[in-house]
């Protein structure tokens, strides 16, 4: 029996084990929404306030679960509203499938009502995209989109489906869900890597997001144990390694932990796994790790030698490649190296001034005390994000959901909602007053679906991160970074139908957070903090370890 393209789409999604999609309806996806209506028992559709929120929700869902997130939007403005979310997923290698409607084929190319060339627009921000011009190709295109999204280095894939394709009839053959391409260990470079590791006296393992995607936590720990290495991570690698592991020094890079950045800088060998040497991680490339040889393991061959020329590049699945390496390296002990690293750790603690104030570090530590190991911590972008990155504690991967590569303010609330729905665990969103202003419309979504996210706004009254740069590098010319918006976040929460609290002291914050986490509804907690707090340490842009700023400058 022939069925419509819209029906084929929904059935193919179900076939791919999709049980939730995020989206927003419109004229060119009416047929799809009609089929979502008939299949509502099999696929739950979450209606967001804005397509951007839906795209971040699909992204958060994917980051928290490792599954493919799905988002649907109508043509034209619906489609363009997805682009920030798609680019965010692209830069952080998150598997999502975005489905857009478009005008009917005969109307394409004529600047018809709500027509945009979304495949053209998203070409540079998707792993691949498709324009479906025949209904007979629809089911296989959807399958191929899922395969591409989750295979190798994951990423977003967009499928643009004109309205007449949705209404055309065609036969449909059910199929098994597509699997990601088979993973292989690197074929070349293993011997050289093993030799470099055996020769190293000061090994440092640099974990990127690929350690999480490639489920290689165990292998990293085993390699570190066997070779007596220390471990650091990029921003995207946060939560890959349990925070309490004694070899783990935390994030390195622009706002990285002092000890982690110093250990990397003074190592003689960097073993980079699933990382891409972003400029935020390396600082000035010509001064990056001057005494270190570099081994780079990545599933994406194009990452090898892209940003940093390496001594030994291995292209392959990180887990399988590490297994081969672990089997072949010698057992080593490097007591001198470990005591050098200990010294860096002590130096790091020396710069930390403790107090009981409502300051960012105490807020995050309170979050650590109240969250359990399954809680997902999502963030927006700015100082609050870096404080979270530096201080949040994790014991399982996929628990830190934050926009690294694109640094998308407004990512947080949608992502927190998506990751809560995906993981089933509580989500805590750590956001800033600026970022929250970009996504607070999604309070409707949290409220309507009663999604247990706890929104912690670190309200410093400023666009803190930009202001920090103005303080340090622009003679305190606070151009447009002071927010005097008079927004009452508590009334706002109330208006959206949820509880809101304002906290000025840590014990009160702790109590509110605990009670929010024990409930089943969204709660907003506003924490008032000082506008002059800074994220430290900081490697100035283009600088190297010699330029690191560790203490707040006077005045």
């Amino acid at each position: 029996m022939k069925i419509s393209g819209a029906e084929i789409l929904v059935r193919t999604l179900i076939e791919q084990n999709v049980d939730v999609v995020f989206g927003y309806p419109g004229g060119q996806v009416l047929d799809i929404y009609d089929k979502l209506y008939s299949h509502q028992d099999e696929i739950k559709h979450i209606l967001t306030a804005h397509e951007q929120g839906a795209s971040h929700a699909a992204d958060g869902y994917a980051r928290a679960t490792g599954k493919v997130g799905v988002v649907i939007a109508t043509s034209g403005p619906g489609a363009t509203n997805l682009t920030t979310g798609i680019a965010t997923a692209y830069l952080d290698s998150v598997p999502i499938v975005a489905i857009t409607g478009n005008v009917s084929c005969p109307l394409i190319g004529r600047d018809s009502f709500q027509e945009v060339d979304i495949t053209g627009i998203t070409m540079p921000i998707t792993k691949h995209n498709f324009f479906v011009n025949r209904v007979s190709k629809l089911a296989d295109t959807v399958r191929e989109a899922f395969r591409i999204a989750k295979s190798g280095r994951p990423g977003p894939v967009l499928i643009d489906i004109p309205k007449d394709i949705q209404t055309s009839l065609c036969d449909y053959e059910p199929a098994e869900p597509v699997e990601a391409d088979k993973k292989n260990a690197a074929e070349t470079g293993i011997e050289e890597a093993v030799r470099l590791i055996n020769e190293s006296e000061k090994p440092y393992i640099y974990c990127g997001g690929g350690v999480i995607t490639g489920s290689a936590t165990e292998e990293i720990l085993a390699l570190a144990e066997k070779t007596d290495a220390v471990i650091g991570c990029s921003f995207m690698g946060i939560s890959a390694i349990p925070s309490d592991n004694e070899r783990f020094l935390g994030m390195q890079g622009m706002h990285g932990h002092y000890a982690s950045s110093m250990a990397q800088h003074n190592s003689d060998l960097i073993i980079a796994v699933g990382a891409r040497f972003s400029d935020r991680a390396t600082g000035n490339k010509s001064k990056y790790a001057p005494h270190s040889k570099i081994i780079h393991i990545d599933i994406d061959n194009a990452e090898i030698d892209k940003n940093i020329a390496v001594t030994c590049g291995l292209c392959g699945d990180v887990k399988l490649t590490l297994q081969k390496i672990i089997g072949a390296v010698d057992n080593k002990k490097h007591p001198d190296w470990l005591s050098e690293v200990d010294y860096y750790k002590k130096e790091e603690y020396r710069h930390i001034v403790k107090s009981d104030d409502m300051n960012p570090v105490n807020i995050i530590e309170t979050v650590n005390e109240c969250a359990d190991e399954d809680t997902v911590i999502a963030t927006d972008v700015g100082q609050h994000q870096m404080w979270a990155a530096q201080n949040c504690k994790f014991s399982k991967p996929r628990k830190f959901v934050s926009s690294g590569g694109l640094g998308t303010m407004g990512f947080g609330l949608g992502a927190a909602i998506g990751s809560q729905i995906g993981s089933g665990a509580k989500s805590i969103l750590i956001t800033g007053d600026g970022s929250f202003g970009m996504c607070l419309n999604e309070l409707t979504t949290a409220s309507y679906y009663n999604i247990p996210v706890v929104i912690v706004i670190m309200n410093n009254g400023v666009l803190g991160m930009v202001r920090q740069w103005q303080t340090l590098f622009y003679d305190k010319h606070y151009s447009n970074t002071v927010l005097d918006r008079k927004t009452d976040f508590i009334k706002l929460a109330d208006a959206f139908g949820m509880k809101g609290y304002r906290c000025t002291e840590i014990p009160d914050f702790k109590e509110k957070l605990q009670s929010a986490l024990s409930g089943d509804s969204p709660v907003l907690i506003e924490c008032l903090i000082d506008k002059d707090e800074m994220v430290l340490p900081m490697l100035p842009p283009g600088g190297s370890m010699d330029d690191i700023i560790v203490e707040r400058l006077g005045g």
Binding site: P124, F131, I148, N301, I304, D305, K306
Partner: protein, 167 residues
């Protein structure tokens, strides 16, 4: 910097040229020439691209291309093991007094006159880029009106075809 020639075998999908060109542009790679056409198998097209760059740039370009789902195979065409040609049409001013000179340059380079009028003539020349550059250099002084170059096409010497690389 070295001149590199690569042949990129791509699935003959809608928009594939735009995808490849978009990748070059977005990543700041400079293409000197780009030609595209169907192969003996209509499922595939062949893109021939030439660009200047050291090994690091060349490797990056090849690896970025290989990542694209529509790209099936890439061959590097080394000068010693391939034949490369470019076809150029050059329209120059006709000049009674210098006609003999022009004709002898055309002869020496085995070019052809494909259109002739009292005001102008159009010359067709095929060859390796170095030959074409030399020819243009010589003919320049007679007054070039316009030039149209196809860009380089290139095949590996020997009996293999690029499609035979598909597994």
């Amino acid at each position: 910097m070295d001149r590199n020639i690569i042949a990129v075998l791509v699935k003959n999908h809608f928009g594939v040229l735009a995808r490849v060109a978009s990748m070059f542009r977005r990543r700041g790679f400079n293409i000197d020439t780009l030609t595209v056409g169907e192969t003996e198998n209509p499922e595939y097209s062949r893109i021939t691209a030439t660009f200047r760059g050291d090994d690091a740039i060349k490797n990056q370009i090849i690896r970025q291309l290989m990542k694209m789902p529509d790209v099936v195979h890439i061959s590097e065409l080394e000068k010693s093991s391939s034949v490369s040609r470019e076809l150029v049409l050059i329209k120059i001013k006709n000049n009674k007094d210098l006609k003999q000179d022009i004709m002898s340059v055309i002869d020496i380079f085995r070019a052809k006159v494909v259109d002739y009028g009292t005001q102008a003539m159009t010359i067709e020349i095929t060859g390796e880029s170095s030959k074409i550059d030399a020819f243009i250099d010589l003919i320049k002084e007679y007054g070039i009106i316009e030039i149209c170059r196809t860009g380089i096409v290139s095949l590996q010497r020997g009996a293999d075809s690029i499609i035979s690389n598909i597994k």
